[in-house]
Amino acid sequence: MSDTQKTEKPKKELTKSQMLSKKITEDYMNEAFRAHELGKLIGYTTAISPVEIFVAHDIIPIYPENHAVANLTAKKGAQLCSVTESLGYTSHLCAYARSDLGYRETGITVTRGIPEPDLFLACNAQCFTLTKWFQVLARRGNLPVFVFDTPEYIMDKKAREEIIKYCVIQLKELISFLEEVTKKKFDYDRLNEVMKYSAESSRLYKKFLDMAQYKPSPISIFDALIGMAIAVYRRGTPECVEYYRTLCEEFQEKADKGIGVLPKDKEKYRLYWENLPVWFKFSDHAKLLGSYGGVILTSLYVHAWSFEFDLDKDPLVTLAENYVSRFSNSTLEDRAEMAMDLFKRYSLNGMIMFMNRSCKAVSFAVPTLKDVLVKRTGIPALVFESDMGDQRFYSETQIRTRIEAYFETLDRLQAKVA
């Protein structure tokens, strides 16, 4: 990849936030690769997991999902997934897991790879796949896995109180588990400090996402997808706060100057995207949509990291409350409510509902969610099925035709209203 980059036109100058992101990521990975030298352990964890506990206990969190995203975005999905399938895994498991297992088999990656794990934390608020995937990895090295089990955050108030209690008990178990593995006492003062950083960076991350309220919007989902990376792997640190402060300043400036992703007179369709992106196509999709005056502003997926930690509460309680209530662990009714909130606050007037074969956890709700949202907003939806990372399940012409037809429908409707 670096070879092709060399022949490309000169790179644009990096913004301050981009430089910061680069530095934070490099420092983080450098430290991770030297973890054992530094007397630290590597904990693999799920993107949605109470990582604050790891950070407070000096466990370096590594997210195999992030590494998978890099490979899938660079179109390595089909190659890596096929390797995993040759080991007996089926082709319809999540492409993150399949590409990761393929990477472990072949060493193929577009990054420098990720360090090997010492232990695992699987939180099923995100999905059940990750638990199973981590178990596969853990068996290879006979390593410990801690499953943080988050029952669906059902709508009954009393049940919710019970669920939080169960989760708090488990967080205490997690702490004992870490103490046992590291032979080191857990420091609650340190956790309080980590929580302050996490609360502040989450607040700023949400502020950044909410820039989508402006017209024209200075931010598209593609900015959000790039911008969310630090929230995923560095929350709980001061550098994460600094990054989001900088990012907010940059986008606020754009908003103040009226600079949009599309110019104000070209921004016709402010779109909602359901699901994860098609990673190896996301910049192509942005261009294609832009040519129709469409810009995807948001999705519940990017909002999954805009936590609202309450620092007045016991840190374990606010951690439990936040992690268990992510969109991916909420009822369909609550998920529709969360999406409706985005429709209202960002004045959205179109929706693309992606049925992602890889991600059952998010996708199985889509048909019902689509019906609810179409009914409540009166806006038609484009539904398409493909895979976020395995190119073999992606049909370019079919998707292009669907997108074109969708914009024709939106144009017709708009003409009617006019």
Binding site: N124, F128, V136, K360, F364, P367
Partner: protein, 377 residues
């Protein structure tokens, strides 16, 4: 209605038990609660005077479910959804739906939204079992189910009431176990299909009546060893359609042990009767056999299967894979390797509710056993 059934009638009823359930409900004036599998404490539902019915798919065509659950959802979930959306929904007064994997989590949401006027409760079984919190949470969930049913029906149950439901369900399981044990040694006395039909129907009809049939069937069994049978262990979650068992019968396989939710994992769920019934139900949950979505340890599955294989002197292990069950699919390659290393012949059958090609399964199964006899494995 179900108290004097012959084996043949049981097999017939298992194909489609719903017309008889409808008739029974009408005659008795009872109400019905449906549950998908696994692990809903049906004794609690029974104690509230409902008929608990396990939903284990339908062989009728898919019409509506595909618009809610795409084709990469496991066929059991789609089949169950179809069963209630197109065929039997009106029979049920309510549902208690367990959540064990991503599919079941969504399924219970879709279900609730589809039936806004019916009682729908979920049973949030813990998806970990090795830590103290799992026990704590199982108890919370059983108590929540009791209070939910109590709020809905405006009735209360007593420990005695729950204990007598437990006793009735235990009796059912004991009878099934006796028949199973007899069949192990007398493979020609009843077929695999008959045995597993007895278990399946037990999960769907009134036990007070059906236990009488079971007792009569059990008492009428005559020792019949037969010849040329190969003893096997069956592993997996469910095994459907019933024709798969017929296939085993056809090539003279004798199931001597299994790990199915619709098999031994159910029968083994006898609950202790000498203490607090809720605690006893919790104990049962904690002690149940391996179930892929809630146990993180495939070694345990391997050990269980190995023990069943050795203790029963079986000749092979057949694993029933439900197409698109990702829980099984993450476990299978490692499980396969562990069993192969141990020298245990292992064959995976890919099954699907609704669209199963039996001839394909038959050919592969026959080839497996031929190579087994030839010592190629």
């Amino acid at each position: 209605m179900w108290d004097n059934l012959s084996l043949k009638e049981v097999v017939e009823l298992t194909k489609d038990p719903f017309p008889s359930i409808r008739k029974w409900v009408k005659e008795k004036g009872k109400k019905v609660i449906g549950s998908t599998i696994p692990d809903v404490p049906e004794e609690v539902i029974h104690a509230f005077d409902f008929l608990p019915v396990s939903l284990i798919g339908t062989d009728k065509p898919l019409k509506k479910a595909p618009s809610r659950l795409p084709d990469n959802a496991c066929s059991l979930a789609r089949s169950n959804l179809e069963l209630v959306m197109s065929y039997e929904g009106d029979l049920f007064d309510g549902f208690v739906l367990p959540q064990v994997c991503d599919t079941t989590q969504h399924l219970s949401d879709i279900w609730r939204i589809h039936f806004p006027d019916k009682y729908t409760e979920c049973f949030l079984a813990p998806r970990q079992v090795d830590r103290p919190s799992a026990r704590y949470w199982t108890k919370e969930e059983i108590e929540r189910l009791i209070s939910s049913l109590s709020n809905w029906t405006n009735r209360k149950i007593t420990d005695d009431g729950l204990n007598s439901s437990i006793a009735l369900f235990n009796e059912n399981k004991k009878l099934l176990k006796e028949i199973y044990d007899f069949k192990k040694k007398n493979p020609a006395a009843l077929t695999n299909k008959e045995l597993f039909s007895l278990i399946k129907l037990s999960m769907q009809v009134d036990k007070e009546e059906f236990n009488k049939s079971l007792k009569r069937i059990k008492d009428g069994l005559k020792p019949q060893k037969g010849e040329g049978y190969t003893d096997i262990v069956l592993a997996g979650i469910t095994c459907d359609p019933p024709e798969v068992y017929a296939l085993f019968d056809e090539i003279k396989l004798n199931i001597v042990a299994d790990t199915l939710v619709t098999g031994t994992r159910y029968i083994d769920g006898v609950v202790a009767q000498n203490g607090n019934p809720v605690d006893a139900l919790v104990d049962r949950h904690m002690n149940r056999m391996f179930f892929s979505p809630i146990h993180d340890n495939v070694y345990r599955n391997f050990e269980e299967i190995k023990t069943l294989y050795k203790e029963n002197n079986a000749k092979a292990v057949i694993y029933i894979h439900i197409e698109f069950c990702e829980s099984q699919e993450y476990d299978l390659p490692d499980l396969k390797n562990m069993l192969r290393k141990e020298g245990i012949p292992f064959h995976v059958m890919d099954t699907e509710y609704q669209t199963l090609s039996l001839s394909h399964l038959r050919t592969r199964l026959q080839a497996f056993f031929e190579s087994l006899k030839g010592g190629a494995l």
